[in-house]
Symmetry: C2
Subunit: 455 residues, 2 copies
């Protein structure tokens, strides 16, 4: 369990300290390296830490100079192994940085280590535990990145989300998780799981840090061939003209039913937002958007088979049983069913965009990021069904911690925005975060074992 106060310094705290000369780049990185090493024996957030920190001695004026960053072991890093938590790739050490990593280094950031992923970002877990309670899963697949930020080791870590691999672990670990619009952070140099669903996302201690980092890493790369489901051609400004923030709450959550504590945490938050002047309306998703689960599963299974099928044929002993099942499932899906799912993805993304912006005029949807607290045990990384539909639609999603549940683990609130309106969603999330009083909840949890469970 954590013995030190977490979130000692946020990303922008570090930047201010470095720019003002209070902290050197070397000190900042060494401090993160030390924290990573100290936590590693119990937290297991990292799949790789260099023998000594490899400090990026950048111009202190650069936006990430002195910022220690952790990178999911699915994302290529020159000079550090990238092994996908798979014995089939043991010893793999790419020569080139992923575009994301190159952008981070160019902005002055230092990669302190690689974080544990589930095998190929699917379900076979790694050794990472939940920093709030080591008997609980940190969630997956970006387990180590969520845990490393939650434990205060780094203020910024990157992961990927194909179903719910950023939002879910962030919620379980009590940090901010941000998955921007599909395609907005280039995936060149990142192992795909299902290219039509794969997103890069990030973990931070607060929303403003995510907004800061997003500006640095977002952008097209001509080797990453996807394009967003909803193009900028049809960008409307939604509710931007109004000063009142308008938030929708689904009468019925998509995915698995959530636990009562999660429900009441969201209701509590909604009341706070209303009290501070937001318009909070209960809404129903259009009927055609209520059952995206089968579509997203078909796309995942087929594309995972395309990506990893050859390995299964070559070396079946090197692939976990859950991954093997996924590949076999994908091989059983017909071209017709897969094509229908892909066509539905594009059609429903447009439908959702129109519904959210034109019909409902919402700034964001407020939904559960997970069914509740992180489940007990490390074998199962939790239910992604509350995230997968939004991943499927390619819309931006952010989760922020708002309360503690009955087991003393965090509960989050997920906000969903319109595609290509990432900055708008971040602005709304920052406004919501200011009303979620998470720092107070956390402090009480630390000072009193009987501190507020769910709010």
């Amino acid at each position: 369990m954590m013995t030190e106060p977490a979130y000692a310094l946020t990303l922008r705290d570090i930047r201010r300290a470095v720019e003002s000369g209070v902290l050197t780049i070397q000190q900042s990185i060494e401090s993160a390296d030390k924290a990573a090493r100290q936590a590693q024996p119990w937290l297991h957030a990292f799949s790789y830490l260099p023998d000594a920190p490899v400090v990026n001695q950048a111009d202190i004026g650069l936006p990430l100079a002195g910022v220690p960053i952790a990178i999911k072991d699915l994302i290529d890093t020159a000079g550090m192994p990238t092994e996908y938590n798979s014995p089939a790739y043991a010893g793999r050490s790419p020569k080139t940085d992923a575009v994301l990593v190159a952008r981070l280094r160019q902005a002055g950031g230092t990669i302190v280590g690689k974080t544990v992923t589930t095998e190929f970002a699917w379900r076979h877990p790694g050794p990472t535990v939940n920093p709030w309670n080591e008997k609980h899963t940190p969630g997956g697949s970006s387990s180590g990145s969520a845990a490393a930020v939650s434990a205060g080791i780094v203020p910024l870590a990157f992961g990927t989300q194909t179903f719910g691999s950023v939002i879910r672990p962030a919620a379980y670990c009590g940090v901010v998780g941000f998955k921007p619009t599909y395609g907005s952070i280039a995936r060149t140099g990142v192992l795909p799981l299902a290219p039509s669903l794969d997103h890069i996302g990030m973990f931070t201690a607060n929303v403003a840090d995510a907004a800061y980092a997003f500006l640095i890493v977002s952008g097209f790369d001509d080797q990453d061939f996807h394009s967003s489901h909803v193009s900028g051609k049809n960008k409307s400004q939604g509710n931007d003209g109004s000063a009142v923030i308008r938030i929708g709450m689904l009468r019925r959550q998509v995915g698995t039913a959530v636990e009562p504590a999660q429900d009441s945490a969201l209701a509590w938050l909604a009341a706070q937002l209303k009290a501070d002047g937001a318009e909070v309306v209960v809404v129903d998703l259009p009927a055609e958007l209520e059952d995206m689960g089968a579509l997203v599963s078909a796309i995942l299974a087929v594309e995972a088979s395309v990506v990893h099928g050859a390995l299964l044929d070559r070396s079946p002993g090197l692939i976990s049983s859950v991954m093997t099942s996924l590949i076999i499932e994908g091989r059983g899906v017909s071209g017709v069913d897969y094509a229908r799912a892909r066509a539905a993805q594009v059609r429903l993304a447009h439908r959702f965009d129109h519904w959210l912006q034109q019909e409902m005029r919402l700034d964001a949807l407020l939904v559960a990021p997970a069914t509740g607290e992180a489940p007990v045990g490390l074998d199962y990384t939790g239910d992604a069904s509350l995230c997968a539909p939004w991943t499927f639609l390619g819309v931006p999603a952010i989760t922020l911690p708002i309360a503690l549940g009955p087991a003393g683990l965090p509960l989050g609130a997920q906000l969903i925005g319109a595609a290509q309106h990432d900055e708008r969603l971040l602005a709304v999330a920052e406004w919501v975060e200011a009303r979620a009083r998470w720092q107070a909840v956390k402090l009480q949890a630390k000072t009193s074992p009987d501190g507020p469970r769910n709010a």
Copy 2:
């Protein structure tokens, strides 16, 4: 066979006549209507002609005022039936214009009738004959549109291309066929055959008319959810900086081997272009682009099954055997193979774009539009394998007539440009057309039965 001189008036001839008052809108449309009715008993270009012309009495300043236009019977027209040449849709009469048709009417154009398509734009033929020789196919699937322009009935007709359904009939009928970049003319209100391959294209008597019409009808529609394979984000200007037109000829054509007459017609044209200052270079496609046939077939079959499968299950007796085979073929394709083909489509489109513009610095590729002259007989609409790869890549393609073959039917030359550079391709094609001396060839063909066969 044709008894009157075809191409009496081009689109822009009509526009000049209408704008200057030499011709009224009414006269122009009535003249086309009369020509359509006179040719119909032998040409069978139209699936529907109204009892009397429904003239769009537009402002004569509008860019298509007084222009008679024919529309393939796959494209919705309010007030006229759209039956897809399928008994399953007999009597279907849509209430709304396709976006394309609405744009044409808004620009002042008059729809004179619906032109014959093969069933669902696949291979089961309609009754249209080739205006040059009624024993020969006009090509398909946009059979009637190509024939109507070739016979001088209308100066502008629209069709669709999923494999080679604009370029091939245009070449067979001795007219210009233009299929712009995928997505550049919205398909809302057009029956799909395979949405990842479907394009709208047009037929005109010359390149300048196509360029004129393209400006009017191109543009996005938010109900047509595709986006181009190659985005504008990466638009490079290719060879635009140089005054010398640089044209590549493939050492080996894609698709079926072409007939000697087609080969020598292209060689003759290349010599003309060189003599007039173009740089003509023999090039080899990158190896990975040499076998796109299986990929495009997989996409077509699966998507056609998605679109038309339910009809086959419901009413097998109302679908032709070639269409039934296609649907059954599509149902046998696995999700994995289809997903691979879709991924390859995007990857190869980027590969081609880079090769054409960066590596080869070509303004256009000069290739055969078909294997040669239109085949004898109406049962088989001809080989689309010389068009399908470019449709698959989503790049703009234009064919223009250049010579007559041994049977006295036209041979064309197809020019391929870079995605999103439609205007550049049209400009190159106009330059090429001025050197192809087609009007002279045609005139000689008319005045002498022993006129120049292939040049």
